[in-house]
Amino acid sequence: MDSYSYHEEDNNPFSATSSHLFNSTISGNNNNNVNDQEQDKQEHTANGILSTHSHSFLTTESLNPGPLFQNEEEDNNPRHYGYPSFHQDSSSSVNIFGDSHINSSDLYHKQTQVPVIEAAAEEEDHHSIRYGLNDGYSVPDNNTLESTVMLDSPSVIASMNGDLYYNQTAEVEEEEQEQQERTDYEGLVNSRRFEGQEEDKDEDEDYGEIYISEAGQMKDMNGSNAVMYVIKYHSLLIRRRYSEFDHLRISLRKLFPTVILPPIPEKHSMMNYFLNPINAKNDLKIINKRKRLLTVFLQGCLSIKVIRDSKLWAYFMNPNMTWNDIASSPPISILPVSNLLAPPLDPVKPSPLHLLLPLPQSTNISTHNNNISSQELEIDTKFKDYHQIFQIYQAETHKLEKLCKKQKLHFRTFTKDLGDLGAFYNAFSLEDHDRLSSAIEKTGQAIDINFINSESFTFQILTVLEEPMFEFNQLSGESLNVLKFRRLKQVQYHIINMTINKRKSRIKELKSAQEQSKRLEEILRQNASQSPTIAAAVKRLEQGESLNKLRNGTAVNSSSSTAWRRIFGNSANSSGGRSGSPANQTEITTMSEQERQEEVVKLEAELVKLNECLRVITKDLKEINRSLSENIDTLLLGFSQQWKLIMRKFTSCMLQYLRENKEAWVQAKEEIDSIS
């Protein structure tokens, strides 16, 4: 895996390797741009979403002077005619260095015409071999190729800058398909960005564009080697690892418990490691997938105002801050242990009262015995509906994702068979079949074109259908999580409410017991003076009571360690029916007047605190309801838009696929018909 290793020289394109190449270009006085032509052809060739980005991408791709990585398996796949492949064109990379010396800001504004030089004969040969079999792509045979290429796309420059900055640090030479994936990916990023920008205009806000421009083995800020993802944000380039994205997301969830966060790609499971032992191809696949999905994640984050404006986001987007720096500074370092014990919208500023709130263990607390206002009920049903919607969404999108995977798989095997068939027809046509051979060849070509189209279509199923389904699924799951958080807060509210009611009724009981016992005492005192047995009974009662009191004390101490339990523990777990309550019940009649008095005072003090808690939780709940329903509404709106987008994209991919295939068959048919 030589190509994975870090090449010192790669880091600086203007150092030794490149400068001599540059000189050689200059000496020729012209730049040859066959390479760009190739890309033009590539664009014509096959795939769906293509953008000018493919220029810069493929261009820089061919820069890499490092050892070539080629996949054996792919090479076995027969391809018979002009399916462009660049990775061996070391000679054609020459011109690019020339280009890159032109000031990029100049390029940004004016269309730069790149002059042309004589192509090396060797290169020409290369092309004619590559394209010779296909009329459409064949390169003229004359040695002087006159061609100009416009470099007018800002994005070309932008990503060229980026690429040169990090210069393919460990850019693995990719096989053709991977190249296509890249161009498709660029297109994808482009189009998603484009959609994003559309939305921006609606909100009259411009928060710029963000995407992963590069990924691969490179050194992190501490100098150790790792797979890094380079975030391109405004003019910034930030290198982060996957795990840092993961941490960021975990922290964001704690920081914004009511925000439905965009998903990040899943971690490798241990199972996968066993099933697909790490190899270059798998790694590359995973890296490319992450590149796409992390781009979507970043774009999602950027579209959420609270995240965009947060300190954590700013830190993460700061190329000079390592994750360790970020993790040890305020937003993360002061995150509450539990979000339930913190204000929902600003968890890093908890009030002391929040620490007093109960920590519910499950959402299954019965609330029916609480009198709920009609307004509360309405809100509740609304959230219950949301809950149901997301549950269905989660289930259905999961099925959809599975179906996408299946069709992708079937398309892939279908593509492979088409490849075999096309190859075979082509071989068949080479055997002497007099007048038929051209028809057979054209049929073979049609099948080959179908093969190439199917290959890119398979990839589009992945990016246009499968991955968005994954996002839907994850977002639904995330929404359910956030809804669960609300539910827990609600349970919190009910616990407090119930405790308050308990306390109140207890005070009431105590007070009435006080009055009763006063009356009883009155009678007893009257009777005791006449009966020694009754006097003895009164004494016994007093003794028993002190025993009870002892027991009660230990019960309080044994309750759990949270603040809530410590303070309100003896009756907090009202539905649990712990020993405290029945003991209390029996106590009441046997308590002394003073004890009752003390408890009433204590309970009233508790009530004051409880009411404060209730106020806090009511406010929390209100905030959550408001923020959550806002977020969910936005999300559902986004879902609708996303669906539209998916359908539109898939339709255009589909149409392109169908049209190109049809065209190929029509040509084949013409050839067949022309046989006499």
């Binding site: 068939l421 055997e431 539209k644 169908l658 049809k662 068959w665 046989i675």
Partner: protein, 452 residues
């Protein structure tokens, strides 16, 4: 001319001559109709100039089941359009069952051993065991193969003039005609399975000579053999890949059906987008249907045409083998003749024929036989033998040469048919694909509009 091929070389020699190839009994059957056929040919030769513009076009369609239970069978409608004056009408239809086709095939192969009789689809097929032979799927496929069979005869310069073929197409008395023929062939133990026996005959002959090949292979035939082998191989491989692709179509059909269904469910969650969702779902369903149709086309038409072509190639290869046999006959005779001549020369020169010759001479001396008398007798015997052999050699050479010529003609004809059929099947494949894409394009363009 056909007599030369039908008649067995009258040759009884101790030399290991290959077993007779065409069976005498069949030849006699053929003889009975030979007059008819020659007469027919003469009729036609009058209007020789017109022959090129004469055509016979038959289609095989509408399979239908006759009778029920044990004796059930399928008949196919054979409709013909022609401008050939030997027919009573220009347009006629007749119902024939598969065994009628087999009968036609048998008679043709008896009458024209020098021709490649277009093969019929296998009778021994899985469908017979499964009891599916009345399923429309099976009979439709068979229809196509039978039509292809007739089409190949139609175009064949010799076979298309065959009387039995004309009777098959038009005669309402086919039944009695067949019975008469059948009785005769039954006399010789040739029942309905005659095609198999004759095939079997060839196979055993081939087997006997499995390790032999003619010494003098003409370059032309070596190339022809190579080509036909290669073609056979290629067709078989394309067939195999298409089988796979057919399966993929099936998978994709199911996938897009499921996907379409699942998308419809999502439409319930997004009531505002219901129309686009429903449209989208319909589009996916269309895709599923398209794959199903492509699959059906491959299964019912394309693969059948490939299979039929494979059969045809095999028939051609069998004919080439037959030709080799004729050549080997000739070679064997010429070898025997050479030996006899050599022996004669030895006797004449009286030279020592090695140890064995010396011993036999000594033995003759001892037994008191007159060596001179013996010698003369031997010489006489040998001379008559040589004479006989020379005649046979001439005949067999003629046979072999004629056979070679006619085989070349057959191969050429086959090449034509092959090109035509390949062209047709490729054209159909392209058409079906274009149809598939066109239907879907218009469907998805609609969807695109509804999404805009």
């Amino acid at each position: 001319m056909s007599d030369e091929f039908v008649d067995e070389p009258l040759f009884d020699s101790p030399a290991p001559i290959p077993a007779p190839i065409t069976k005498q009994p069949i030849a006699s059957t053929a003889q009975d109709h030979h007059d008819l056929i020659t007469k027919q040919t003469e009729d036609l030769s009058i209007s020789q100039s017109k022959i090129d513009t004469l055509f016979i076009k038959s289609t095989v369609s509408s399979p239908s089941k006759e009778n029920d239970g044990q004796n059930a069978y399928i008949t196919y409608l054979v409709s013909t359009i022609t401008n050939n004056p030997i027919f009573n009408a220009k347009k006629f239809e007749i119902r024939r069952r598969f065994s009628d086709f087999v009968f036609l095939y048998d008679v043709l192969s008896n009458d024209h051993p020098e021709c490649v009789i277009p093969p019929l689809p296998d009778k021994q097929r899985l469908e017979y065991l499964k009891g599916d032979r009345f399923s429309p799927e099976f009979t439709e496929k068979r229809c196509q193969s039978l039509q292809r069979f007739l089409k190949r005869i139609e175009g064949h310069p010799v076979l298309k003039k065959s009387k039995i073929y004309h009777i098959f197409l038009e005669s309402t008395e086919w039944g009695s005609y067949k019975v008469n023929l059948k009785i005769k062939s039954d006399d010789h133990g040739l029942g309905s399975g005659s095609s198999l026996t004759s095939d079997g005959g060839i196979i055993t002959d081939v087997f006997i000579n499995a390790f032999k090949s003619p010494n003098l292979q003409s370059k032309e035939f070596i190339i022809i053999k190579e080509k036909s082998e290669k073609l056979d191989e290629n067709i078989a491989r394309i067939d195999k890949i298409f089988q796979k692709i057919m399966k993929r179509y099936g998978d994709l059909e199911q996938d897009y059906y499921d996907f379409s269904y699942q998308i419809k469910k999502i439409a319930e969650l997004e009531p505002e987008l219901e129309i686009p969702f429903v449209k989208f779902s319909e589009g996916l369903q269309g895709l599923s249907l398209g794959f199903a149709q492509l699959k059906q086309f491959l299964d019912n038409e394309y693969l059948i045409s490939l299979k039929d072509l494979e059969h045809y190639i095999n028939s051609v290869r069998n004919l080439i083998k037959l030709k080799d046999q004729k050549q080997m006959d000739f070679e064997a005779i010429s070898e025997y003749l050479e030996r006899s001549i050599h022996e004669k020369n030895v006797i004449i020169t009286g030279g020592s024929t090695g140890a064995s010759g010396f011993l036999s001479a000594k033995f003759e001396e001892l037994t008191g036989q007159n060596p001179d008398l013996n010698k003369r007798e031997k010489l006489n015997k040998l001379e008559s033998k040589i004479e006989k052999l020379s005649k046979e050699l001439d005949i067999s050479q003629k046979v072999s040469q004629e056979f070679e010529k006619s085989t070349l003609k057959e191969v050429n004809y086959f090449d034509n048919v092959k090109s035509l059929e390949l062209k047709e099947s490729l054209g159909k494949l392209a058409d079906k694909n274009i149809e598939f894409y066109e239907t879907l394009i218009s469907k998805w363009e609609d969807i695109e509009k509804s999404l805009a």
